[in-house]
């Protein structure tokens, strides 16, 4: 039987801006099994990024239960959450979020600094191999400003993969890319998923959603039936 990797039970999240309170997530339930490729679609403001923040342990729900890899994580402290993010979750962002002064290789190695504090030759080898697999062997010493959008996103993917995560979280990963590069990047996601990596992606591009095994629509803080 395939294990549940992410289980959300009745998650709520409220934001306050000045005197106005927005309830962004209104009792949301979700189960994602290992090896799944889930795309969450929804209009802007529907709560999909908040959902991704909570799944990625970047934010805490106001109420509800969240089991990640069998562990209840909604009440963990910052240090414990950092540990899980570092070792079990890989992030790919719309804006790439590479460290501007670091080279492609250094960006890929960054999560390892928070794992053991040290970077071994093995780590380097592994990072180089990942970059090579993503077609970046010629660009390892390039700074983000010297890379194209597609290249930057591939560096970000290599960085997300460096710690062998259980879950890859992607927030509009192709939002800043042209259609050909989008195709390339999505093929990478597909390939990773086929090798067993669980992927949860947020997008509003129906073309991108076609790569998913499952699509869920979110509206006003709850999933709606397709």
């Amino acid at each position: 039987m395939v294990k549940d990797l992410v289980v959300l039970k009745n998650i709520t999240k409220t934001y306050q801006t000045g005197k106005i309170t927005y309830q962004v997530l209104k009792g949301l339930n979700l189960e994602v099994k290992e090896g799944d490729f889930l795309v969450v679609m929804g209009a802007s403001g529907s709560g999909k990024s908040t959902l991704l923040n909570i799944i990625g342990l970047l934010d805490k729900p106001d109420s509800g239960e969240y089991f990640f890899d069998g562990q209840e994580v909604s009440k963990l402290n910052k240090k414990e959450l950092a540990y899980i993010r570092n070792r079990k979750i890989g992030f790919v962002f719309q804006a790439f979020h590479l460290v501007p002064w670091a080279t492609a290789l250094e960006n890929v190695l960054l999560p390892l600094l928070y794992k053991d504090g040290e970077i071994t030759n093995q780590d380097r080898e592994r990072a180089l191999e990942l970059l090579k697999r993503l077609g970046l062997e010629e660009r390892i010493n390039a700074k983000p400003s010297e890379l194209s959008g597609g290249e930057q996103q591939r560096v970000a993917i290599a960085r997300a993969l460096i710690n062998n995560p259980r879950l890859l979280l992607a927030d509009e990963p192709t939002g800043n890319l042209d259609s050909q590069t989008t195709q390339e990047v999505m093929n990478i996601f597909k390939e990773l998923n086929e090798k067993g990596l669980t992927v949860i992606m947020v997008t509003h591009d129906p073309e991108v959603a076609k790569f998913a095994k499952r699509i869920k629509l979110i509206k006003d803080g709850i999933f709606i039936e397709q």
Partner: protein, 405 residues
């Protein structure tokens, strides 16, 4: 925790990524450290010079000066000053810790040579003056026992006097000068000794003690005695013993004040350095204030750095950096700033001292203490004032990486 090479490289690159910020952080710290170090060095140098000068006149730790007349160390006497006698010195010489006692008397008299006349300090001294003060003639000879016995009308002159008489030192040997109405033959010229402030030590004339007392000053009391102690003498004990003997001989009892002053090198130094200390303390306070201002500047620049780098910090947190990782990151950054500015401040203060020494009598003094001051203060200031910004950095929400709601 020792940061890894990658961590250090990361931090260095981050620092260099905002050169203007880095420049002002370093500048503010370097300026105040240079000031602080220079102030300290100036004080230390001035003190050392006084100590050297005192050692140069045999006023090291095994010495004492007895001056006739009671009162404060420097200033007007408040008692009779005609009570210190040669017999007192004889009695003191019997103490087993006394190595040497050199009494002297002095007056300020008119001295003339050819058509030049000037008021000068004239002293009656014994042959042991040379040892007691580590002061020897560079030309001619010093006073000897025979001069004392025969009340010889001879004198030794200080090294600045030939200039006053418009004559070369060698040409003056054998010539006669008129001191207080009598003519004295110049038999030697003293080697030059540096002056203490406005006290011109090289403008004095020495006569044989007996000649001075009988023929010139016409007095039976002495003005001062220089004592040298045997090595290892307990100065406090010596002081007590000497005071006891002199008070007894001068028939001073109970609350009656001393009619003499015992001056130890420590007291002399404290007098010379007192004004210096006050000024120094004042400057040090200013230095410390400027250091605090630097600290505040660093704090502000750190805050702005953290605001600017918020997305990167959020990213680090998202990638698994713990609050401790983030704080360490920024404290290492402030340590790097401290080390660079500590080194620069230290080097600059050394250069500044060299420049100051060109225009003042103060000599540059190399001291590892300034090195420690520089790095110590740099580290404390930099880290202390970076702590709050570093803590602020840990509170950045990683969720800001995902833009819309």
């Amino acid at each position: 925790m020792i940061p890894s090479y990658y961590t250090l490289r990361e931090i260095t690159k981050e620092l260099i990524s905002n050169k203007v910020n880095l420049f002002f952080m370093l500048l503010s710290l370097i300026i105040s450290l240079t000031a602080l170090n220079t102030i300290y060095s100036l004080g230390a140098s001035a003190k050392k010079q006084i100590l050297d000068a005192l050692a140069n006149v045999q006023f090291g730790k095994d010495a004492m000066l007895i001056i006739a007349g009671g009162g404060r160390i420097i200033g007007l006497t408040t008692t009779r000053r005609d009570t210190l006698k040669l017999e007192d010195v004889k009695e003191l010489e019997r103490l087993d810790f006394i190595k040497l006692a050199s009494p002297m008397s002095r007056e300020t008299l008119e001295v003339s040579y050819k058509d030049i006349a000037e008021k000068m300090r004239v002293e009656g001294v014994f042959p042991n003056f040379t040892i007691a003060n580590n002061w020897y003639p560079i030309l001619g000879r010093f006073i000897n026992e025979k001069d004392l016995k025969t009340f010889a009308k001879v004198c030794i002159i200080g090294s600045d006097i030939p200039k006053k008489f418009n004559a070369s030192p060698s040409e003056l040997i054998g010539k006669k000068v008129k001191i207080g109405g009598d003519f004295f033959e110049i038999i030697g010229i003293l080697e030059p000794k540096a002056s203490f402030g406005h006290y011109r030590r090289d403008e004095r004339i020495l006569l044989p003690f007996t000649t001075a007392q009988r023929r010139v000053f016409n007095k039976d009391y002495i003005d001062a005695v220089k004592l040298l102690f045997k090595e290892g003498t307990d100065i406090k004990f010596a002081e007590r013993k000497i005071r006891e003997i002199l008070r007894k001989r001068h028939k001073l009892f109970g609350p009656e004040p001393d009619d003499f002053r015992l001056i130890t090198p420590e007291m002399a130094i404290s007098v010379f350095t007192k004004a210096l200390k006050t000024i120094n303390l004042f400057l040090l306070v200013i230095g410390l204030i400027s250091l605090i201002i630097s600290g505040v500047i660093i704090m502000n620049l750190m805050y702005s750095n953290i605001e600017e780098k918020a997305p990167v910090i959020a990213l680090r947190i998202a990638l698994g950096a713990t609050p401790q990782n983030i704080i360490t990151h920024y404290l290492i950054m402030s340590l790097i700033i401290a080390l660079i500015s500590g080194l620069m401040g230290w080097i600059l203060s050394i250069l500044l001292m060299q420049i100051i020494s060109l225009f003042t009598p103060l000599k540059p003094l190399f001291s590892w203490i300034t090195f420690l001051i520089s790095f110590g203060f740099a580290t404390v200031t930099s880290i202390l004032f970076s702590l709050l910004p570093a803590i602020r950095a840990t509170q950045i929400e990683p969720s800001l990486l995902l833009k819309s709601l």
